[in-house]
């Protein structure tokens, strides 16, 4: 029982992405385990799918490894950052 690995949850709410690790036996572990994303490529595919469908990313996502969870959170936050950077570029070059 104890040799089961911890899960990593990423909660996305608007501009925020919060990370949490859930150890076996703790509340939420079983539900995380049920929906866990095991492979990085699945995490990326899910992210792209949600994005292309124009759906909000808001929700809780569970991942088997910290790296995969970080990648998912990064993708969300970097996309916001990218939008801001593009906006900044447009504002910066605007000369009336």
């Amino acid at each position: 029982m104890n040799d089961r690995p911890a899960m990593f949850n990423v909660t996305i709410e608007g501009l925020q992405a919060t990370m949490r690790s859930i150890k076996p036996g703790k509340r939420g572990y079983d539900s995380a385990l049920k929906n866990v994303i095991l492979r990085e490529r699945d995490a990326i595919a899910l992210y792209n799918q949600l994005l292309t469908q124009g759906r909000t990313l808001d929700g809780v996502y569970s991942f088997e490894s910290l790296d995969i969870a970080k990648t998912f959170a990064f993708l969300h936050l970097k996309s916001i950052e990218r939008q801001i950077a593009t906006n900044l570029d447009r504002v910066q070059v605007f000369n009336g």
């Binding site: 990085e40 490529r41 990326i44 970080k70 990648t71 990064f74 970097k78 990218r82 950077a85 593009t86």
Partner: protein, 293 residues
């Protein structure tokens, strides 16, 4: 002239592709070696002329171009770099292949030693491996901390956006080679004494970490493929095909116009300037290289 242009099709940014490239003998397994080689040489020559046009454009417009070549060992990065630089002026196009950082460099900002190599106006720099070492070999071989790695994935796009905003055109190529072909090339390097230097103990060790490299590569591409500087993947299982595809692509993504330098007529030398005030010293006073061939 008319028939020649009729045989050519223009690609996106003006690079002409001759009809003879479709279908390419390099993609045809039934094509003879002779046919493939002659096609390759002909196309390479044509692309070299286009590269010279690009070089003239870069010089004329004062452009700054950075091309990054990444990929596994033996993926063919060096080969394509060699074919790009071959016809070009080393003052315009230079290659940067940095070794392991010194102790001092290790204490610097990670991008510092790469930033020092960025082009001035009228230059094109080809990076044979680049700052992406951190997302590849350093990550897989454990040469950087987790913190350094994630910081790189965060900052590399920012760094590159800054470069692009400063007027640099940045193009990134990933050379994709299959497990089997890499193994074949490694064997070739082991056998050939002129290629053995290309194999480092690190390369041999990285052979055992194929999957980890794949994961690191996938993640790197996802995190750092940005609108301002895209990653382009070159299928490099067939070397010659990869070279032509990469050069042809490079020519389409770096906007350039104009022509190769026009023909020069060599003027006749004025006889009065030759050999009047000058007498060559006896050959015995100079150290000649022995003519053993």
């Amino acid at each position: 002239m008319g028939s020649k242009s009729a045989k050519n099709k223009k690609m996106g940014s003006g690079l002409e592709v001759s009809d003879s490239t479709i279908p390419s003998p390099l993609a045809d397994p039934k094509a003879s070696k002779k046919k493939r080689n002659s096609f390759y040489e002909k196309e390479l020559r044509r692309l070299h002329i286009e590269l010279i046009k690009l070089q003239e454009h870069i010089k004329r417009e004062g452009s700054k171009v950075v091309v990054i070549f990444e990929g596994r060992d033996a993926a063919g990065k060096g080969g394509v770099i060699k074919r790009i630089t071959e016809p070009l002026n080393p003052r315009v196009c230079r290659v940067v292949a940095l070794g392991t950082p010194t102790e001092r460099q290790k204490t610097q900002w990670y991008f510092q030693r790469y930033a020092a190599e960025l082009p001035a106006a009228g230059e094109m720099v080809l990076f044979d491996r680049s700052w992406y070492n951190r997302a590849g070999v350093e990550r897989v071989m454990g040469f950087c901390s987790d913190e350094d790695y994630w910081d790189f994935l965060r900052t590399a796009p920012e760094f590159e956006r800054m470069l692009v905003r400063s007027g640099i055109t940045l193009i990134k190529y990933w050379f994709s080679v299959s497990d089997e072909v890499q193994e074949e090339r490694f064997l070739g390097r082991v056998e050939d004494p002129t290629k053995r230097w290309k194999l480092s103990p690190m390369d041999l060790e990285s052979r055992n970490k194929w999957q980890q490299y794949s994961q690191a590569k996938d993640r790197m591409l996802v995190h750092t493929d940005i609108e301002q500087s895209r990653w382009y993947v070159v299928n490099s299982d067939v070397k010659k095909r990869a070279r032509l595809n990469c050069i042809a692509h490079l020519l389409t993504v770096v906007p350039h116009k104009g022509s190769a330098p026009t023909k020069i007529r060599l003027p006749k030398r004025s006889p009065e300037k030759r050999g009047e005030d000058y007498v060559r010293p006896p050959l015995s006073v100079q150290n000649f290289v022995p003519e053993i061939y």
